[in-house]
C-alpha cells in the first residue's frame, strides 16, 4: 500500500511538472507578454522596466522556478483581457461550474448504473434494446446540439425553463450557490441534463458490458451451481465485480465533465470557468488559459490518485497480502 501510494504520488508529481512546464511555456513563449501587458502608448523604457519586473531578463530555468513559486502561492498573474488577477476571476467562476458538474454527476450515475444493469440482465428484452438504441443516439449527438434542442423545446417553444444564466444566487461569502433559490434550481435543469447525457450513456454502456462479462464468469457459474437466488447473483455478486471499473471511469468522468462544461456553459451562457476559458481562448488571454490548464491538470491528478487509492481499498487483490 505504501509502495502504491508512493508510486502514485510520484506519477502525480510528474504530471504536475509537465503541466506547469506547458503552462509556463505558454506564458513565456506564446505571444509577447510585455506587449500584451503594457499600455498601447508605452515607451520602450517602460516596456524594459515591465520586462524586468516580470523577470524576463533572467535565465529560463530561473523564470520557471519563479513561475512555479508564484503558482504555489496562488498567484496566476493578471488577465490580459480585463486586467484583473486570474485567481479572483477563477474564484468567482468556480462555484457555478462545480454546482453544475455535481448535479450532472448525480444524474449520470443515478440513471446510468441501473440502466446498464437492466440491459445486461435482459440483453434481449425490448426495454434493453430500446435503451441500447437510444444510448447510441446519445453518444452520437454532440453536447451542444443536445443543449440547443433542449433550449428550442423547453425554453423557446414551451417557455417552461430558463435558457441561460444561473438564475438568482445566494452569496455565502466564500461561495455562491444556486441550489437555494427556485430560479437557481430551475436554471440548473437544462444545463445539467445537457452535460449529464453524454456521460450517462458512457456509464450505462460500461456497466452493461462489465456486467455481461461478470455474469459469464466461472465464479458466477459456481454461484449458480450453489443454488443461490438469481437476485443475489445479479445484484450483489456480479454487480460488485462490474462496478469496479465504474469507479475509475466515474473519477475520470467528473474530470471530463469539468472540461465538457466548457461546451454546456457556452450554450447556456452559464457564468462558470468553462465560459471564462473559451473567452480566454478566443482572445488569446494566456494567463487565464494557463491557469485553467493547471487547474484542470491538478483536478485530474487529484481525482486519478484518489481513484487509484479507492480502488486499492475496495479491491482485495490490490491490498497487501496478509496471509
Amino acid at each position: 500500500m505504501a509502495g502504491l501510494l508512493l508510486s502514485r504520488l510520484l506519477q502525480a508529481a510528474l504530471v504536475m511538472i509537465a503541466v506547469t512546464a506547458v503552462a509556463f511555456a505558454m506564458f513565456r513563449f506564446v505571444g509577447d507578454p510585455v506587449r500584451a501587458m503594457a499600455r498601447e502608448d508605452s515607451t520602450p523604457q517602460e516596456r524594459a522596466e515591465l520586462a524586468q519586473a516580470l523577470g524576463l531578463d533572467q535565465p529560463v530555468p530561473v523564470q520557471y522556478a519563479r513561475f512555479v513559486g508564484r503558482v504555489a502561492r496562488g498567484d496566476f498573474g493578471i488577465s490580459y483581457r480585463n486586467q484583473r488577477p486570474v485567481t479572483t476571476l477563477i474564484a468567482e467562476r468556480l462555484p457555478a461550474t462545480l454546482e453544475l458538474v455535481f448535479a450532472a454527476t448525480l444524474l449520470a450515475l443515478g440513471l446510468g448504473i441501473p440502466l446498464g444493469v437492466m440491459c445486461a440482465i435482459r440483453p434481449d428484452g425490448a426495454a434493453a434494446r430500446l435503451v441500447q438504441s437510444i444510448s447510441l443516439i446519445g453518444i452520437s449527438t454532440p453536447t451542444f446540439v443536445t443543449g440547443i434542442a433542449l433550449i428550442l423545446f423547453f425554453a423557446v417553444t414551451l417557455r417552461w425553463l430558463p435558457s441561460f444564466g444561473r438564475g438568482d444566487i445566494v452569496d455565502l461569502g466564500f461561495w455562491t450557490t444556486g441550489y437555494l433559490t427556485g430560479s437557481g434550481l430551475r436554471s440548473l435543469v437544462l444545463p445539467s441534463i445537457t452535460l449529464a447525457l453524454y456521460q450517462l450513456t458512457l456509464i450505462m454502456r460500461l456497466v452493461r458490458s462489465e456486467m455481461i462479462d461478470a455474469l459469464s464468469s466461472d465464479y458466477i457459474r459456481f454461484a449458480r451451481a450453489r443454488g443461490l437466488p438469481k437476485s443475489r447473483i445479479h445484484y450483489v455478486l456480479a454487480l460488485r465485480n462490474a462496478l469496479m471499473p465504474v469507479i475509475t471511469v466515474t473519477g475520470l468522468q467528473i474530470g471530463s465533465l469539468v472540461a465538457f462544461a466548457i461546451v454546456t456553459e457556452t450554450v447556456f451562457q452559464w457564468p462558470g470557468m468553462g465560459l471564462l476559458f473559451i473567452q480566454a481562448v478566443s482572445f488569446v488571454d494566456i494567463p487565464v488559459m494557463a491557469a485553467y490548464l493547471m487547474f484542470v491538470g491538478a483536478l485530474f491528478v487529484v481525482l486519478n490518485t484518489a481513484v487509484d487509492l479507492v480502488y486499492a481499498i475496495v479491491d482485495p487483490r490490490l491490498r497487501k497480502a496478509k496471509g
Binding site: 510520484l10 465464479y219 459456481f222 451451481a225 450453489r226 465485480n241 479491491d315 496478509k322
Partner: protein, 565 residues
C-alpha cells in the same frame, strides 16, 4: 435406497446454427450410488462435461435436454427447467469445477462465500454459519482455518482454493457432488492430496460423486465405477477394475492403449490409423539426406552443453530504470546433451524447466552461466547455432500465426536462411515437410483454423524441421492434446529422431510421457536439477527423495484396485 444420481437414456441437443441440431449427449445412462465415485471419462468433445451440467441443471440456452430422465435421490428432474421438486441445487447437489482460480469471486472473503450458501439454504445466522464454515475448512484439511476465513481467494494457493471450492460444495451436506476435472489445473503433488480428500469424503460421508475427467490415472486411483464416453455415447461402463483390466469396446481399448505407462517403456504407442505410410517415409528419407549434406556430428561430441545456467525475472518499476525485486527461476543448472539422444527435463510447474528451454532456444538471456552448441556459445542473434536449435511449443493454437497460410509459414525459415534458391523450391520443400509429418501437401494452401490440435502440432513440428535443425527443444509438446493424439505425436517425434538422427530436448511435467520418450532424464525443482540419470535407472530406482515422491504421487492406470474398488 435409491441411487444418489441416476441417468437414463439422456440426450442433450444444441442447435448447430444451420437449422439442424448437434447431439452433444446421445443415450447415456449411468448410476451413482451413495458413497461411490463414478468416473465419466472421455477425450475433449466426448460430451462428458455436458452430462455433468445436465445433472446440475446448468445446461445453458440454446442447449436443451431432448430426452431421457435424470433422477437425483430418486426424484425426477424436469427437463425443461432443470429443477427437481424438493431438490435444491447447492444444498442437495454440490459442484466442483476445474479451475479454482476462477471459481471463487475475487472480491469476497472465504467466509462470505461459504457462509452465503449456508445462510441461504440452511437459514443459519452469521455465527452458526461461521462455526459451520470453520468445521468445513477443517474437514477439507486447510491449515489454520480461523485465519483463512477472513482471507480473499488470491491469498490462497491453488490447492487451498480447490479445497475451499470443495468445502463450498459440501457445505449443506449434499447427497451428490459433481466434480468437473477437479484436479486438471493442479500440480501432481496437489492433485494427489485433492484426490485423497475426495475419496475420504465419499467413504466417510457417503455422498455419491460423479467425477468428470480425461485422466485415466485419476480414474484408476480413486473411482469405483467408470463410464467411457466417445462422441456423445457411453461406449463402456463397469467397475474400474474390470474396464481397465479388460476393456471390451474397441474405442476403450485404443484409449487405454494410448495412455503412457510409468512402469515400463514401450517402443511405440499402439495407435490405430496413424499418418505414417510410404510417402511419409520417402519424405523423411529426403530430409535425412539434407541433414547429411550439412555434415555429420560425431557421436562422441557433445551437441549441447549447459554450464551453471542462471536466469532471473525482475518485476518492472514504474519509471524507466527502476528495478523491481528479482526472482531466480533457474539457479545453476548444468547438463550435456549427446547427438541423437532424447534428453528429458521434468518437474512441477514453476520449477524452471520452461525457462531453461527458453534460454537454450535464445528466447531469454541468461543472467549467468553459458550455453554451448558444439563447443561454441549460442549467440543471441544470428549465427549457425540459431538455425540449428529449433523449438516446438505446448499450445497448438497459439503457436501458429492465424493470419499466415501453412505453406507461407513453412517457407519462411527456408527462404530466410536461403536453404532453397527459389520460391518454387521452397514450396516443394514445404510440401515434403508436410508429408514427413503425415499431412497432405494440400495443407499448404490453408490457414491454421482449418486444422485440429493434433494436426497443428504436426505443422509446428514441420516448421521446426524447416530450418534443418540438429536439436529441437520440445516444450510440453503434447500437454494440451487428448491421449490418443498425444500418442500419435510422440510416435511421430520418435520416428523423426530415428530417421534423421535428430536430437530432442524434451520438457514435460508428465512423468509417464517422459519415461516413454527419453534416454536420459533430469528432474528439476526450485530452479535446480535434483537428479540426472539414464531414464530406466531413474524410474526404476529413483535416488533422490523428491523423485521418489513425484513418482509415488502420479495416479497410474496400472495401479488400479489399490483402494479396493
Amino acid at each position: 435406497m435409491s441411487a444418489a444420481l441416476s441417468i437414463e437414456n439422456l440426450r442433450v441437443e444444441y442447435p448447430d446454427g444451420a437449422g439442424g441440431v448437434f447431439v452433444a449427449v446421445d443415450g447415456v445412462s449411468l448410476d451413482v450410488a451413495k458413497g461411490e465415485i463414478h468416473a465419466l471419462v472421455g477425450e475433449s468433445g466426448a460430451g462428458k462435461t455436458t452430462v455433468g451440467n445436465a445433472a446440475m441443471g446448468l445446461i445453458d440456452k440454446p442447449g436443451r435436454i431432448a430426452g431421457g430422465t435424470i433422477r437425483i435421490g430418486g426424484i425426477a428432474v424436469d427437463p425443461a427447467t432443470g429443477e427437481a421438486p424438493g431438490v435444491v441445487r447447492g444444498r442437495d447437489i454440490g459442484a466442483v469445477f476445474q479451475d479454482p482460480m476462477t471459481s471463487l469471486n475475487p472480491l469476497f472473503t472465504i467466509e462470505a462465500q461459504i457462509g452465503e450458501t449456508l445462510r441461504h439454504h440452511l437459514g443459519l445466522d452469521a455465527r452458526a454459519a461461521r462455526e459451520r464454515a470453520l468445521e468445513l475448512l477443517r474437514s477439507v484439511g486447510i491449515p489454520e482455518p480461523e485465519r483463512r476465513l477472513s482471507a480473499y481467494p488470491h491469498q490462497l494457493s491453488g490447492g487451498q482454493r480447490q479445497r475451499v471450492v470443495i468445502a463450498c460444495a459440501l457445505s449443506c451436506a449434499p447427497k451428490l457432488v459433481i466434480a468437473d476435472e477437479p484436479t486438471t489445473a493442479l500440480d501432481v503433488s496437489i492433485q494427489a492430496q485433492i484426490l485423497k480428500l475426495l475419496r475420504d469424503l465419499a467413504d466417510r460421508t457417503g455422498i455419491g460423486l460423479l467425477l468428470v475427467t480425461h485422466n485415466m490415472g485419476v480414474v484408476a486411483e480413486i473411482a469405483d465405477r467408470v463410464t467411457i464416453m466417445h462422441r456423445g455415447k457411453a461406449v463402456e461402463s463397469g467397475t474400474v477394475r474390470d474396464v481397465l483390466a479388460a476393456p471390451q469396446h474397441p474405442y476403450s481399448r485404443a484409449l487405454l492403449g494410448a495412455v503412457p505407462r510409468l512402469d515400463r517403456k514401450l517402443a511405440r504407442f499402439e495407435v490405430p490409423g496413424e499418418g505414417g505410410g510410404d510417402t511419409a517415409q520417402a519424405a523423411r528419407t529426403k530430409i535425412a539426406a539434407q541433414a547429411r549434406d550439412e555434415g555429420q556430428v560425431k557421436v562422441s561430441e557433445k551437441l549441447l552443453e549447459v554450464r551453471d545456467l542462471v536466469v532471473e525475472y525482475r518485476a518492472r518499476g514504474w519509471l524507466p530504470g527502476m528495478k523491481g525485486t528479482a526472482f531466480r527461476a533457474v539457479d545453476g543448472v548444468s547438463f550435456d546433451v549427446a547427438p541423437g539422444e532424447i534428453f528429458g527435463l521434468v518437474g512441477e510447474s514453476g520449477c524452471g524447466k520452461t525457462t531453461v528451454a527458453g534460454a537454450i532456444a535464445g528466447l531469454l538471456k541468461p543472467d549467468a552461466g553459458e550455453i554451448l552448441y558444439r563447443g561454441a556459445p549460442v549467440a543471441a542473434k544470428g549465427g549457425a547455432s540459431r538455425r540449428a536449435i529449433q523449438m516446438i511449443f505446448q499450445d497448438p493454437y497459439s503457436s501458429l500465426n492465424a493470419r499466415l497460410r501453412i505453406g507461407t509459414m513453412l517457407a519462411e525459415p527456408i527462404l530466410f536462411y536461403r536453404l532453397a534458391a527459389t520460391q518454387a523450391e521452397a514450396t516443394e520443400d514445404a510440401a515434403m515437410l508436410l508429408n514427413a509429418v503425415g499431412l497432405p501437401p494440400e495443407a499448404a494452401q490453408r490457414f491454421p483454423h482449418a486444422f485440429s490440435g493434433g494436426q497443428r502440432q504436426r505443422i509446428s513440428i514441420a516448421r521446426a524441421l524447416a530450418a534443418r535443425p540438429r536439436l529441437i527443444v520440445c516444450d510440453e509438446p503434447t500437454s494440451s492434446l487428448d491421449v490418443s493424439v498425444q500418442a500419435q505425436i510422440l510416435n511421430l517425434l520418435k520416428d523423426l529422431r530415428d530417421a534423421n538422427g535428430l536430437t530432442l530436448l524434451f520438457i514435460s511435467h508428465d512423468l509417464a510421457v517422459v519415461r516413454q520418450m527419453c534416454d536420459r532424464v533430469a528432474v528439476m525443482r526450485g530452479g535446480k536439477i535434483v537428479e540426472l540419470r539414464a531414464a530406466d535407472a531413474l524410474f526404476e530406482t529413483p535416488e533422490h527423495a523428491y523423485t521418489r515422491e513425484l513418482l509415488n504421487l502420479v495416479p497410474r492406470p496400472e495401479r488400479h484396485g489399490r483402494n479396493g474398488g
